[in-house]
């Protein structure tokens, strides 16, 4: 058996970043993601990398923009209030078609909110949190192993599509420790970065990384191009986990930590003879619409569970077969109260 480590989700993110070849990190302290910068401030200098604690999240995301424009793999991480500050920079990166990885170990809001785990950043993440009508790829890990694997994937997807990619998790996944197999970086064929700024050598073309397009029709064409990329992502990059859905009469759908909690509730239901399954989207953008359409061909009852007041459920409703019913259970996090399997089992019974 390969080596199994016992690490925190946040540390798995940092380890994966290093394995993926990321040597540049820019960030600003915020709970509950500080393990990531703390780990990288220790490890990056040993690898001749750069760790910069920026003056703010606005500073950090713009450092990422600059580093990425030179072609290196780079990242930032934060938590909800800090991610709000980064939205301007993310919009500019999306507009400038710059790769980069942004990790959001989200917490509860709005405003300063609290530091409890929350999934209330779903909309902000998948609907283009900043201005201008763009998307970024959003990956939602549910285990420490996935924190590692999806962070690794995030760097590849960012380079392949020249887009910011977000890893969206919460403190359950971030603070939890589990077994981790630190897989080596996969061999992926990546497009050549012929667009990066490196200093124009005599006889070479000038490179410009920008999001301002003032020429006739230029901006429109640029937007069509971006949205063409989003269509390719929708077609090729949807990922989801299906668990006991074949014979299910009720399918629970949830992402990240909540999907984990729901899984135990589903096992309890199975023990009680109820045919319940789980559809867990792993990519939140692109949203695995087809998977919902497929499962609702057979199973007509969906129960969407979120740690918020109902966000992803809107995308679920748009995705399922017309004759499927979509129910919702969710709540904003309270002081220290996470949903527990017993609570979710009650909901399963209610809608089964």
């Amino acid at each position: 058996m390969s080596q199994r480590l016992f690490v925190k989700g946040n540390e798995a993110v940092a380890m994966a970043a290093i394995e993926a070849g990321c040597r540049y990190y820019f960030g600003y302290p915020i709970t509950p993601q500080s393990d990531i910068p703390e780990y990288l401030s220790r490890e990056l200098p040993k690898l001749n990398g750069e760790f910069i604690q920026a003056e703010s999240e606005v500073g950090a995301i713009n450092m990422l923009l600059g580093a990425s424009a030179t072609g290196v793999r780079a990242m930032t991480s934060s938590s909800s209030p800090g991610i709000s500050l980064k939205q301007e920079g993310i919009s500019y990166m999306a507009g400038s078609e710059l790769p980069g990885v942004i990790v959001n170990i989200s917490r509860s809001g709005p405003g300063l909110g609290g530091i409890d785990a929350s999934q209330a950043d779903y909309w902000q993440s998948v609907k283009g949190g900043g201005h201008g009508g763009y998307h970024i790829i959003v990956l939602a890990p549910a285990s420490v192993q996935e924190m590692y694997d999806l962070t690794m994937l995030a760097f590849d997807l960012a380079d392949i599509y020249r887009t910011p990619v977000m890893v969206l998790a919460d403190s359950v996944v971030g603070q939890m420790k589990e077994a981790l197999v630190p897989n080596p970086r996969p061999e992926t064929t990546l497009p050549e970065k012929d667009w990066v700024v490196r200093g124009r050598k005599e006889g070479t073309e000038q490179k410009i990384v920008k999001s301002l397009f003032l020429g006739d029709g230029e901006l429109e064409a640029h937007n069509w191009k971006l949205h063409g990329k989003y269509d390719v992502m929708r077609e090729k990059e949807c990922r989801q986990e299906l668990f006991m859905t074949e014979d299910a009469q009720l399918i629970v759908t949830a992402f990240g930590s909540v999907a984990r909690i729901a899984k135990t509730a589903i096992l309890t239901a199975r023990e009680a003879g109820m045919k319940v399954g789980l559809l867990r989207p792993i990519t939140l953008f692109p949203f695995p619409t087809q998977a919902y359409r497929d499962v609702t061909g057979q199973c007509k009852k969906i129960l969407d569970i979120e740690l918020n007041n109902g966000q992803m459920v809107e995308d679920v409703r748009l995705s399922v077969a017309r004759d499927a019913e979509v129910h919702f259970y969710g709540r904003p996090p309270g002081a220290g109260s996470l949903p527990v399997p017993e609570e979710l089992f009650e909901q399963i019974k209610k809608y089964y």
């Binding site: 600003y28 302290p29 915020i30 709970t31 500080s34 910068p37 703390e38 401030s41 220790r42 200098p45 760790f51 604690q53 003056e55 703010s56 999240e57 606005v58 209030p81 405003g111 300063l112």
Partner: protein
């Protein structure tokens, strides 16, 4: 005989959440005393920042607005401009004021906002677990400078009191400490002076208070206090860096009220 340890009325009679040996509490008390002295409690609006002092409203018996991280001087600007009769102070940590909020503090100071800023410099981000701050000493180990702050990479600690003193809008800027009875007495005086500036409408006043964070520094309260008197005051000298009553331009006389029909051009047309 004077009772030295009487609780200022502007301060609530509740236990604080600060760690043992933390000087946030002492600084709170001095600020509350100054508030009492000038009798401004009832017209005070405090602006809380994000850091260990975020629960300002729990301790000060005054109205409080909670600002996003670093933005307290901008929020205070809004409060003061909207309610010029109020007494407005911000209370900010070094991460809040000297990192994420650098733009806000510089421009509020430069505009000469009639507010008082209490800046608590404990050379670290206390609340989030002791990461490096812009004021962290060179060589100081924190959770994000595990090898010690490196001057070549991270720059050197910012001396905010001196830096702000350069700005035209700043009327008063001083650095204080509360590590010894003498320094505490001086701090009390300086804070009152800073308050007087605002009470008399003389412009922006700034107090930098050196403070301990035994928790993040990983030392005992006594060792923390010793560090203030040692390496911190060496680098962050105490004293006044500016003490000039500002000339405040008188507001222009109110423009004559025009009749609706007299408006020719909508104002915003010029901005497009």
């Amino acid at each position: 005989m004077q009772q030295v340890f009487q609780r200022p009325v502007s301060l609530k009679d509740v236990p604080t959440h600060f760690c043992p040996g933390c000087q946030h509490g002492t600084i709170h008390r001095l600020v509350a005393e100054a508030m009492d002295e000038f009798g401004v409690r009832e017209r005070t609006i405090g602006v809380a920042s994000v850091g260990c002092s975020v629960f300002l409203y729990g301790y000060f018996d005054v109205d409080v607005v909670e600002a996003p991280h670093g933005r307290a001087p901008a929020v205070a600007t809004g409060v003061k401009r909207a309610r010029p009769d109020s007494f407005v102070f911000t209370y900010q940590g070094d991460g809040d004021l000297a990192a994420i909020g650098t733009a806000e503090i510089i421009h509020a100071a430069n505009r000469g906002e009639d507010i008082t800023v209490i800046f608590v410099n404990n050379t670290t981000y206390g609340m989030t677990g002791g990461q490096m701050a812009p004021t962290t000493m060179v060589g100081q180990k924190t959770s994000t400078s595990p090898y010690g702050r490196d001057h070549a990479k991270d720059g050197s600690p910012i001396r905010m009191a001196e830096l702000l003193a350069q700005l035209g809008g700043v009327a008063f800027s001083a650095r204080v400490a509360v590590n010894t009875p003498k320094n505490l007495m001086d701090a009390r005086k300086q804070i009152k002076k800073a308050f007087r500036y605002q009470v008399e409408g003389k412009g922006f006043s700034f107090i930098e208070a050196l403070s301990t964070c035994p928790t993040a520094w990983g030392v005992t309260p006594i060792q923390a206090n010793e560090r203030i008197g040692g390496e911190m005051i060496d680098y962050f000298p105490l004293g006044q860096f500016k003490d000039t009553a500002q000339w405040k331009p008188q507001p222009p006389p109110p423009a004559p009220v025009e009749q609706p029909g007299a408006l020719s051009f909508p104002e915003f047309m010029n901005e497009i």
